[in-house]
Symmetry: C2
Subunit: 251 residues, 2 copies
């Protein structure tokens, strides 16, 4: 079995849990990690609560190669992520001169209010993550990357993280679909999956405007496994008298 590099994402935000805001970061980070050959292996969405943030960070950082957080690093009273990541690591939470300079350069010294200075408070020993959109930086401490929650800001921070992490073998995905119920293919999906060491097959039923069927997603870090499995699965589908189609489902 090829070893996988695994990441966890902690989304911090009452607004996601209340349903007020649709999270847009999970999917973006999942695809970004996939491109780097890193598997997003768990996501947690937790409230703006100090102890919950500390616990989530400390539960995740020994279990995953990388941990990402989004949300709660702005200037207001509900922005408590940085402080609680410092607590999780048991390090002092201090004014970071480099971060202060970034804010000054962006806002002008006269506009650096006390509230805005809170965005320059960073756990000791952390390195900053640049924010080309609105200056206030994120930071990395150990294997934990603390980012903004606003999607456009978060996405800009990922640019400064790419060089700091290393991926494993990239997962190759191929997809076919059928226009019959997935249950007819249950046995052959199992047979094909078991035949290859690194292969997983996901089966995703779809319903759409009177037609239904299922999409089978073959995934492995070994390209030849995916290719061979696709041929084997295709033959087995034809042998049972069914048709299959390449590419994504109609959903």
């Amino acid at each position: 079995m090829v070893n996988k590099i695994k990441a966890a994402l902690i989304i911090i935000g009452d607004e996601i849990l209340s349903g007020r805001t649709h999270d847009a970061n999970l999917n973006y980070i999942a695809l970004w990690l996939g491109d780097l050959g890193i598997v997003l292996d768990e996501v947690r969405v937790i409230p703006d609560d100090g102890v919950r943030i500390q616990n989530a960070v400390n539960e995740c950082r020994p279990s995953f190669d990388y941990v990402f957080t989004t949300g709660g690093i702005g200037p207001t009273h509900d922005d408590i992520t940085a402080k609680n990541v410092a607590k999780a690591f048991d390090v002092p939470f201090l004014l970071n001169e480099e971060a202060k300079q970034l804010l000054e350069d962006n806002m002008g010294k006269g506009n650096l209010t006390e509230a805005r200075l809170r965005m320059a408070m960073i756990p000791e020993g952390a390195s900053l993550i640049k924010n080309p959109v609105s200056a206030a930086p994120g930071f990395q401490i150990g294997n934990v990357f603390v980012m903004a929650g606003i999607p456009i800001v978060m996405q800009s921070m990922l640019l400064d993280i790419e060089d700091r992490i290393s991926g494993g073998a990239k997962i190759i995905t191929k997809t076919i679909h059928v226009f019959e119920g997935e249950s007819y293919f249950a046995d052959i999906l199992s047979e094909v999956e078991e035949h290859f060491e690194n292969l997983t097959i996901g089966s995703y039923p779809f319903y759409k405007a009177g037609s239904y069927g299922a999409t089978f997603v073959l995934r492995s870090v070994i390209l030849t496994e995916v290719d061979d499995a696709l041929v084997m699965l295709g033959e087995k589908i034809i042998n049972r008298g069914s048709e299959f189609f390449a590419g994504e489902a109609v959903l």
Copy 2:
């Protein structure tokens, strides 16, 4: 402090973590729970992995009033949720005659293949959750509700859950926004929040086509708190020479 009824959601699905599929259930369930006066207090997204499912269920069910799962209850090899919920509860995993009957009624006895019969395997002691869309039921065991992952099926299952759960006081939300940086309001947001026992204020900056600002969301189970806080916050905003606007942000 008014006690809150709290729920956790466990989303089971490699396809969400890989970024292939956008989850649509979190937001729907968050709003549905909110209407019932129940707070969605944590979400976990985990892979199709038996041990991970067992651990997530057993970590969540003592800590929350209700636990919901979505995904992994179909007829194929990657549908392993039901079996692992049985393991989490340490109860036998058996063919459920009522579930079998539901499938027979829907599909016809002759079409009840071995694969489809897997959808009638239910942990002992669980009660079924009806699925008006495609018959294969979910189930409730203890405070855990196991549902399908396909949004339209999941949503239809919620109809059969509403009468089984009881909410607390419903959270009342009022929203105003400003067209200045949230940092200018950091102090007064803290002051207003601290003045009311059950009130929380979230501050959500927005950027849009050249304008930016912040939305302040006031939430409490006590209507008068929200109303009084809105007046107090409005006065403080005006006193510092700013304007505010009722309703949602432009984002």
